[in-house]
C-alpha cells in the first residue's frame, strides 16, 4: 500500500521513508484463498497504477457528456436527438449516454477512484503521523556524497559547541513554528571509525524541514473525499423551484406555488422556509446599439416572512438569500394583460400571459388559451409581442427590447383546446390538431394587431380582445443546498493542501563540528555541512550557504579566522540543478 506517491520522487529519502514495494518474483503463483484474492484485489485497487488508470478512464468517460445532449441539462435537446437519430438513440439510451454523469459506469469509475484514494491515503497518513514524531536522521559521517555541501574552518576560540548552538538556533529560526526540526548531539571520536586528528567530542546537528509537504498531500486528498461526500449530501437534501411571477403578483414559498419543483430524496416539505414574495417592479437597461445588449436587470420585491415585510432587490449575479435559500433572477420578459369578451359582452378571459422572449430584442412568443367560453368553440390565440415594432415591406419586426412601440400580433384558432383530456399541456404551445385557424375571405390567416389600451374585434363574431397593458414578468429560481458551505470549505482546503504538497521544499541539513589540529599547526574548529532534498530543490545549496554565512556572523574572533582554508563565496559556483543563473 505504499505505491501512492503523488507529490514527488521517492529516491533520496527512501532510506528511512516508506519501504519500496516488495518486488514479487515473476512466474511464481502462490495459492490464494478467498482472503488472499481479496487482499490481492485491494492491493491492486489501491496501487498507484490502478489509480492512474482510473484517472485516465474518468477523463475519457467525461467527454461524451459534452458531445451528446444530456437529460439533466437540456431534456428538449435529448428529444430532438431521438427524432434526428431514431436508430442510434435507443441504444445510447441503454448505455445511459443521455445522463453520463449519473450513469452507473461513470459513478463506478469515480467511486472506485475514491476507494482507491482512501485505501492509499489512510496508510500514508499513518506513516506520516509516525514520521512527524520521528527525530531527524542521524548526521552522516561523510558529507561528500550529498548534493549540497559547505565547509568552514574557524580559530579554536570559536568552539565546536558554540558553532553547533549557533547553527541549531539559525535552523530553528525565530518564528513561533520552527523552520527546521533540529537535533543536537555529540559523538565521541573513540573507535576505529574516527578520522585521524580529531581530539575531543564531535558536535553534530541534524535538521529536517518540509513535513508540511506530505501533510498537504494528505490534506488535499482527504479534502477531495470530503468534497465528494458534501456534494452527495447536498444532492440528497437540496430542493429547487422555478416560478414565473408577473409584476404586482406574488407567490408563497410552497411546493404547489412553483411551476416546477425538484428535490433530493431526503428533502422534507416542512423544511421550506415560510415566506411570500411580491414582485413590485422590474427594471432593465439596454445599450442603444443596432444589436442592443442588456446592461442591467433588477427585480424589486417585497418579502414577507414571520419577522415582517422588507424590500429587497434581485439582480443577475446577486441572488437574494432568504433563510439559507437563494432566489435567482433567471429570466424576464413581458406578460400582456388581456381581456376577451364574447359577442354578448361576457368576460371569458382576463389576465396576464407571459410571452417568452426569443431573441435579443425580445421578440416574444406567447399563447392565450380561452377555454371557458359560454357558447361555441374554445378560442386559442397565438402570436408575438414586438416591444418596439417597425412595419416594413417584409412584415413587422422588433428593433429594441424596451416597450417603445409595443405591438401584439396574434392569429386566431377555434375548436377544442384539448385541455379537458387530462393530458398535461405546455402552456406555451397551442395544440392545433382539433382546431381551425380563422381566415379571411381570400384564405389568408386573420392577423390581429393591438397596441396597449386598444380593443379589436375577434373574427367570425367571436367577440372582442383588449390589450389592457404590458407588465413585466420575471422567472425566479429558488434553490437551497445546505451543503454549500461545506463544499466551499473542502474545495479551498484542497487548494491549500495542493499548494503545500507541491511547493513545500523538503530538506535535510547536517552539520558536523570538531576541533582538529594537523601536525604542528594550531588547533582549529572545522565545520562540515551537507544538505539533501526530497525532490530536486533549487534552494538547497543557498540554504547551506546561508547557514554558513550565519555561523560567520557568530564568530567571536573573525580576524583570527584562517583565511587560506576558507574559499570566498564567489568561488563556489551556481549549483542549482536547473542551471539557475545567479
Amino acid at each position: 500500500m505504499s505505491g501512492y506517491r503523488p507529490e514527488g520522487i521517492e529516491n533520496a529519502f527512501a532510506e528511512d521513508g516508506a519501504p519500496a514495494p516488495a518486488s514479487r518474483p515473476s512466474g511464481e503463483l502462490p495459492a490464494l484463498g478467498v482472503v488472499g484474492w481479496l487482499r490481492w484485489g485491494w492491493r491492486q485497487l489501491t496501487s498507484m497504477r490502478v489509480a492512474l488508470l482510473l484517472l485516465m478512464l474518468l477523463a475519457v468517460a467525461a467527454v461524451p457528456g459534452s458531445t451528446i445532449p444530456q437529460r439533466p441539462q437540456d431534456p428538449s435537446k435529448v428529444v430532438e436527438f431521438f427524432d434526428d437519430n431514431p436508430g442510434v438513440a435507443p441504444w445510447l439510451d441503454k448505455l445511459q449516454m443521455f445522463d453520463v454523469y449519473g450513469s452507473v459506469w461513470f459513478s463506478a469509475i469515480y467511486l472506485l477512484l475514491f476507494v482507491s484514494l482512501v485505501g492509499c491515503i489512510l496508510p500514508r497518513a499513518k506513516v506520516h503521523w509516525i514520521a512527524l514524531r520521528a527525530r531527524p536522521p542521524r548526521t552522516p559521517r561523510r558529507m561528500g556524497r550529498y548534493p549540497a555541501q559547505g565547509a568552514r574552518v574557524y580559530a579554536a576560540s570559536y568552539t565546536p559547541a558554540q558553532v553547533a548552538d549557533a547553527a541549531a538556533a539559525h535552523l530553528r529560526g525565530r518564528g513561533p513554528l520552527p523552520r527546521f526540526r533540529v537535533e543536537q548531539g555529540t559523538e565521541t571520536s573513540a573507535g576505529a571509525r574516527a578520522p585521524e586528528g580529531e581530539p575531543g567530542p564531535v558536535h553534530v546537528v541534524a535538521a529536517e524541514r518540509g513535513y508540511l509537504r506530505e501533510t498537504g498531500n494528505i490534506v488535499f486528498h482527504l479534502a477531495l473525499v470530503g468534497l465528494l461526500v458534501a456534494v452527495g449530501l447536498g444532492q440528497a437534501l437540496q430542493y429547487r423551484g422555478q416560478a414565473i411571477v408577473v409584476q404586482g403578483r406574488g407567490f408563497a414559498n410552497s411546493v404547489s406555488a412553483y411551476d416546477t419543483f425538484s428535490e433530493g430524496p431526503w428533502f422534507r416539505e416542512e423544511n421550506l422556509p415560510p415566506f411570500t414574495m411580491v414582485l413590485d417592479d422590474f427594471t432593465s437597461t439596454f445599450t442603444d446599439d443596432a444589436m442592443p445588449v442588456a446592461k442591467d436587470f433588477t427585480a424589486f420585491v417585497s418579502v414577507t416572512d414571520p419577522a415582517g415585510t422588507r424590500l429587497e432587490t434581485i439582480k443577475v449575479n446577486h441572488p437574494l438569500t432568504i433563510e439559507g435559500a437563494k432566489v435567482y433572477l433567471q429570466g424576464n420578459g413581458y406578460a400582456p394583460r388581456l381581456t376577451v369578451k364574447d359577442a354578448d359582452g361576457n368576460v371569458t378571459f382576463a389576465g396576464t400571459v407571459p410571452f417568452i422572449p426569443e431573441d435579443q430584442v425580445y421578440t416574444s412568443r406567447g399563447v392565450v388559451k380561452v377555454p371557458d367560453v359560454v357558447t361555441g368553440e374554445q378560442i386559442g390565440l397565438v402570436g408575438y409581442l414586438l416591444p418596439t415594432a417597425q412595419l416594413s415591406a417584409q412584415g413587422v419586426r422588433s428593433l429594441h427590447p424596451d416597450l417603445l412601440n409595443p405591438v401584439l400580433v396574434l392569429t386566431v384558432w377555434t375548436g377544442d383546446l384539448g385541455l379537458d383530456d387530462g393530458v398535461p399541456q405546455n402552456v406555451y404551445e397551442l395544440e392545433t390538431e382539433k382546431m381551425t385557424q380563422a381566415r379571411t375571405a381570400d384564405g389568408q390567416p386573420v392577423t390581429l394587431m393591438l397596441a396597449p389600451g386598444t380593443t379589436v374585434d375577434l373574427p367570425d363574431g367571436l367577440g372582442t380582445l383588449t390589450l389592457d397593458d404590458i407588465p413585466r414578468f420575471v422567472a425566479l429560481d429558488l434553490r437551497h443546498d445546505p451543503a454549500l458551505t461545506w463544499i466551499a470549505i473542502f474545495a479551498f482546503t484542497a487548494i491549500g493542501g495542493l499548494m503545500l504538497s507541491l511547493f513545500t521544499p523538503r530538506r535535510r541539513v547536517w552539520l558536523r563540528v570538531s576541533t582538529r589540529s594537523d601536525g604542528d599547526g594550531p588547533a582549529r574548529t572545522v565545520v562540515e555541512t551537507a544538505g539533501l532534498a526530497r525532490t530536486d530543490d533549487a534552494g538547497l545549496q543557498p540554504e547551506v550557504d546561508a547557514l554558513l554565512a550565519f555561523l560567520d556572523t557568530r564568530d567571536p574572533a573573525p580576524d583570527d579566522r584562517p583565511a587560506e582554508d576558507n574559499p570566498t563565496p564567489d568561488d563556489s559556483p551556481a549549483t542549482d540543478d536547473l542551471g539557475e543563473t545567479r
Binding site: R142, D477, A494
Partner: protein
C-alpha cells in the same frame, strides 16, 4: 482618427510582427547550433548512462567514484563533480547574436502586447478577457510573459522557438478569425469573478503553454538520445545542446505544478461564480466538462510521473494530451458545442 479599440488591434498586429521576428531569430539561433557537440554534453551523457531511462533526477546522482572526503578541502572537489553532472549542459547554451536579438525583440513584443491588452480594456471598459478573441490575446501574452520571466532565472531560451511560434500563431488566428469589436458585457458577466476566474484561467493556459514546450523538447531529446532514426539527422543536432530529458522533465513538472494549482483555482472560482450567476456550482456545461477533463489529465500526469513504468516519456505524453485539451477547451468547445459559456457570438 483611430479609436482606442482600433489602436489595440494595431498594437496586436505589431505584437504578432515582433513575435514573428523573434521566432525567426530563435530558429536561426537553433540552426547555428547544429552539429556542435559540446564536451560537457559528452560528459553528462557518460555520467547519466547508468541511470538512463529513469526520470528520477539529479539529487541522488551519487558518483561512487568520487572519494568521500572529510576535510574542508572537499568543497572544490564536490563542486567539480556537480558541475560535470548537472550544471554544464545548461551553461553550454551560449549567447549567440540571433539569440540576443530574439530575446530583446520578444521583450519588445511583450511590451506592445501589454499595450494592446490595456487599450483593449479601456476600449471595452472592463477586464479585457471576456470573449474568445481576448482570451487568445491574453493567453498568448501570459505564455510569452511566463517564458520571458522564467528565462531570466533558468536557462530555458531553447524553448523560445516553440513558445514564440505558438504566440505568433495564436495572435494571427485570433485577429483573423475571432476578432470582435470591443464592447461591454451582459449582466451575467458583470462580476469581479470575471477578473478572477477568467484571468486565472488564461494565466494557467499561458503557463501550460510553456510547460508543453518543455515536454515536447523533452520527448524530442529523449527520442534522439534513444537513437530514433527520425531525429538522428544533423537537423536535430541542436537537441544535443538542450538539457537532458530528465532535466526537461523536471522543468516541465515545476511549471505544470504551478499551472495545475491555478487550474484547480479556476475550477473552484468558476464554481463560486456559477453558484451566484446560474444558481448551481457545477452543471456539466461543455466548458465545465472540458475543464474537468483537463484537471483530471494533469492530475493523472502528476501521478504518472511518480509511478514506476509511467515516469519520463509516458508522463510527458500526458502533458501533450493535457495541453491539447486546454487548446480545445479554449477554442473548440465554444465553436462546436452550445453551452452557458458561449458569449459574444463565440
Amino acid at each position: 482618427m483611430t479609436t482606442v479599440g482600433e489602436m489595440s488591434d494595431l498594437l496586436a498586429w505589431g505584437t504578432a510582427s515582433a513575435y514573428a521576428i523573434a521566432l525567426v531569430a530563435f530558429a536561426i539561433d537553433l540552426s547555428g547550433r547544429l552539429g556542435v557537440r559540446s564536451v560537457a554534453r559528452e560528459k553528462a551523457l557518460a555520467a547519466a548512462t547508468p541511470a538512463s531511462g529513469a526520470s528520477t533526477v539529479a539529487t541522488d546522482v551519487v558518483d561512487p567514484a568520487v572519494r568521500d572526503t572529510t576535510s574542508a578541502g572537499a568543497v572544490s572537489e564536490a563542486t567539480a563533480r556537480r558541475a560535470a553532472s548537472l550544471t554544464s549542459p545548461w551553461k553550454a547554451w551560449s549567447v549567440s547574436k540571433p539569440l540576443a536579438i530574439a530575446v530583446s525583440v520578444s521583450w519588445m513584443g511583450l511590451a506592445l502586447h501589454l499595450a494592446a491588452i490595456v487599450t483593449r480594456g479601456f476600449a471595452a471598459g472592463r477586464a479585457p478577457w471576456a470573449n474568445l478573441y481576448e482570451f487568445i490575446l491574453v493567453g498568448a501574452f501570459f505564455a510569452m510573459a511566463v517564458f520571458l520571466v522564467v528565462q531570466t532565472r533558468w536557462e530555458i531560451r531553447f524553448l523560445g522557438t516553440i513558445v514564440s511560434g505558438l504566440a505568433t500563431l495564436a495572435i494571427v488566428v485570433a485577429l483573423n478569425a475571432f476578432h470582435v469589436e470591443a464592447a461591454g458585457v451582459q449582466p451575467a458577466l458583470q462580476s469581479y469573478w470575471l477578473v478572477i476566474h477568467v484571468g486565472i484561467a488564461v494565466l494557467a493556459t499561458g503557463i501550460f503553454t510553456v510547460a508543453f514546450a518543455a515536454s515536447v523538447t523533452q520527448l524530442l531529446r529523449d527520442s534522439r538520445d534513444e537513437g530514433s532514426p527520425m531525429l538522428a539527422s544533423r537537423r536535430w543536432s541542436w537537441l544535443d545542446q538542450v538539457p537532458t530529458a530528465a532535466q526537461l522533465e523536471l522543468l516541465s513538472f515545476r511549471i505544470n505544478a504551478v499551472g495545475f494549482v491555478l487550474w484547480t483555482f479556476t475550477l473552484v472560482s468558476g464554481s463560486v461564480w456559477a453558484e451566484d450567476a446560474w444558481g448551481r456550482y457545477w452543471g456539466w456545461d461543455p466548458k465545465e466538462v472540458w475543464s474537468f477533463v483537463i484537471w483530471v489529465v494533469y492530475a493523472a500526469y502528476l501521478h504518472a510521473r511518480t509511478t514506476r513504468g509511467w515516469s519520463g516519456r509516458r508522463a510527458a505524453w500526458f502533458v501533450v494530451v493535457g495541453y491539447a485539451c486546454v487548446l480545445f477547451n479554449f477554442t473548440g468547445v465554444n465553436m462546436l458545442f452550445s453551452g452557458k459559456h458561449s458569449y459574444s457570438g463565440v
